[in-house]
Amino acid sequence: MLQLSRDDLALAYKRMRTIREFENRVHEEFSAGKIPGFVHLYAGEEASAVGVCMNLGDKDYIASTHRGHGHCIAKGCDVEGMMKEIYGRKDGLCGGKGGSMHIADLSKGMMGANGIVGGGPPLVCGAALSAKTLKTGGVAIAFVGDGGSNQGTTLESYNLAKIWDLPAIFVVEDNGYAESTASAWSVGGSQVKRAEGFGMPGVEVDGHDFFAVYEAAKGAIDRARDGGGPSLIHARLDRHFGHFEGDAQTYRAAGEQDKLKAEVDCLKRFRQRVTETSLLDAKALDEIDQQVASLVGHAVTAAESAQPPSAEDLLTDVYVSY
């Protein structure tokens, strides 16, 4: 099956499972009032982040969205550091200064979740320009939502990536809703035709299907690495939680969410596919589930007991020198 070894498949499952477990725990802890601010959860969309990032290494960059936890985990950010960041702790990945919407780890090629819808694509053009100019062989991926796909920054970035011939890939994660507004209403034309309009290849994939995403991403990333320029992937998928935690989701049809969780859950599909084809057995997957539960449980425990930043930390890290 593709170029993925059993180890790769186990890793992909582990990352997807880690995202699911992480988001479920953040949901619980947020509901219990233990997490400040507000959070946007990625559960349900795991196949997209992991399907894309399984093709990437540390020299490759991604920029994410406000719904960024999944991309961070898929790109290899430290799970405990992330949880501590979401709790606002001093030894969080960003020292407690960023929080859920700004988790970044440039050493892992993760340029940040982003509180501004459509904020990432221009930055990704820059990372792709760095890769091209410095000849690192790297590529850069902009994840945007269906909401972000309507921002001028995103459309300008399609054009810039094309005319500069950048190794950039735009992954439109279309979970059907920009906040409460249906993408069926808010997106004029089609994502793929938008790409084609800018002279880029575009492809639509079932974002619940890890293998479909992986294959599409591999094609796009290999092309970009070989100097073939930018392209777009439109992944149709679903989020399991609301736009933000606390969203009553009154815009959804009755029973909509239960149905999609039952019928199109990407983790269930992955498990079914790899067990039916005997690539991985259920026992191995169960063991991963247990490892992941332990990992995330430990991260929550560590985050709960970790120290907040000190008053002096307020004033540091604004400039390199000032």
Binding site: Y61, S130, Y322
Partner: protein, 337 residues
């Protein structure tokens, strides 16, 4: 050492840094000019010629023309800065910040803080500002107070060709995002500028003259106006100190306060709009920290709180003039309680 224009000084600084450091790149609208067009290569070198000659020397890989998509390319410059390059991006007129400001203040300016001190964003955004070109309301503003208001950005206002070269070299070598504001009326100003590279540190004000009667704090093009006013006043026995802060972020508060305390009389001259501007900011700084030393109220010389007008008569009335500065200094010098 030779006489060089403000334009030449900037060009020389950029070229020398590009020779020194292969990660320095230049991008902007028409920075080469004529991209894809049948005429000359290097057709423009920027709309007023500041980047002319860079493409022939450094090639199109390091001197990039952009489409008119400020959000995309200013954001790309920020992203490139965070991933290993040192871009010098040109936002042709500062008035265009409105179409790309998110990428400057929410992205580039906040990376370091939001990411817990792990990001380094050595970005320079060059941009033209100021009135005097009969360019009307959307091509004549200053707007640097808005950048100065944003933590994480450094803001530079060179007041002469010598200052322009040293501050640009510093800006390119600096590891923080820098907004570098070039006054469009000053590009042909000339003075002696060293041939070799040199830096002028940020946050260190320059005293262009020292006197004991009144301190004039002036920014950018207004430094020259302040010096002209001081020349006239000197003849009447009113000797002025003129402080050029050079950078509004960081701001050399110590030097401004020392000079304010020495004379006890201060005029602040700023070409930006008066509300929430640098003149108000510096006046407040002095009022809060040097109140006991003041012998007169701090006077601000600024334009009125209007858009920049088009008609030459109106624009001339809008911009702070040497005469207005002189009058303000005379008022302050003659003030007694």
């Amino acid at each position: 050492m030779a006489k060089k224009s403000y334009r030449q000084a900037l060009n020389e600084a950029i070229a020398q840094e590009m020779r020194r450091d292969p990660t320095v790149i230049v991008m902007g609208e028409d920075n080469v000019g004529g991209m894809g067009a049948p005429g000359e290569d290097d057709a423009w070198g920027g709309v007023l010629g500041v980047t002319k000659g860079l493409m022939p020397e450094f090639g199109r890989e390091r001197v990039l023309d952009t489409p008119i998509s400020e959000s995309a390319f200013i954001g790309a410059a920020a992203g490139a800065a965070a991933t290993g390059l040192r871009p010098v991006a040109e936002l042709m007129f500062v008035d265009f910040m409105g179409v790309c400001f998110d990428q400057i203040y929410n992205q580039a300016g906040k990376f370091r803080y939001m990411f817990g001190g792990k990001a380094v964003t050595p970005l320079v955004i060059r941009t033209m500002y100021g009135a005097g070109f009969r360019a009307a309301s959307q091509h004549s503003q200053c707007l640097y107070p808005i950048f100065t208001h944003t933590p994480g950005l450094k803001v530079v206002l060179p007041s002469s060709p010598y200052e322009a070269k040293g501050l640009m070299t510093q800006a390119i070598r600096d590891d923080d995002p820098v907004i570098f504001l070039e006054h469009k009326v000053m590009y042909d100003d000339e003075e002696d500028v060293p041939d070799e590279a040199y830096t002028i540190p940020f946050g260190e004000a320059n005293l262009t003259r020292e006197g004991d009667a009144v301190t004039i704090v002036a920014l950018g093009r207004m430094v020259g106006f302040a010096n002209q006013a001081a020349d006239r006043l000197e003849k009447d026995g009113i000797s002025c100190t003129v402080v050029d802060p050079r950078t509004t972020s960081p701001l050399d508060e110590d030097t401004i306060l020392e000079c304010a305390e020495e004379t006890g009389r201060v005029v602040v001259v700023d070409e930006a709009s008066p509300r929430c501007g640098m003149a108000a900011d510096i006046a407040a700084l002095i009022g809060q920290n040097a109140f006991d030393a003041l012998k007169a109220p701090v006077r601000m010389v600024t334009p009125p709180h209007t858009p920049v007008p088009f008609a030459p008569e109106l624009e001339d009335a809008y911009v702070p003039s040497v005469a207005k500065i002189e009058a303000a200094v005379r008022d302050v010098a003659g003030y007694s309680r």
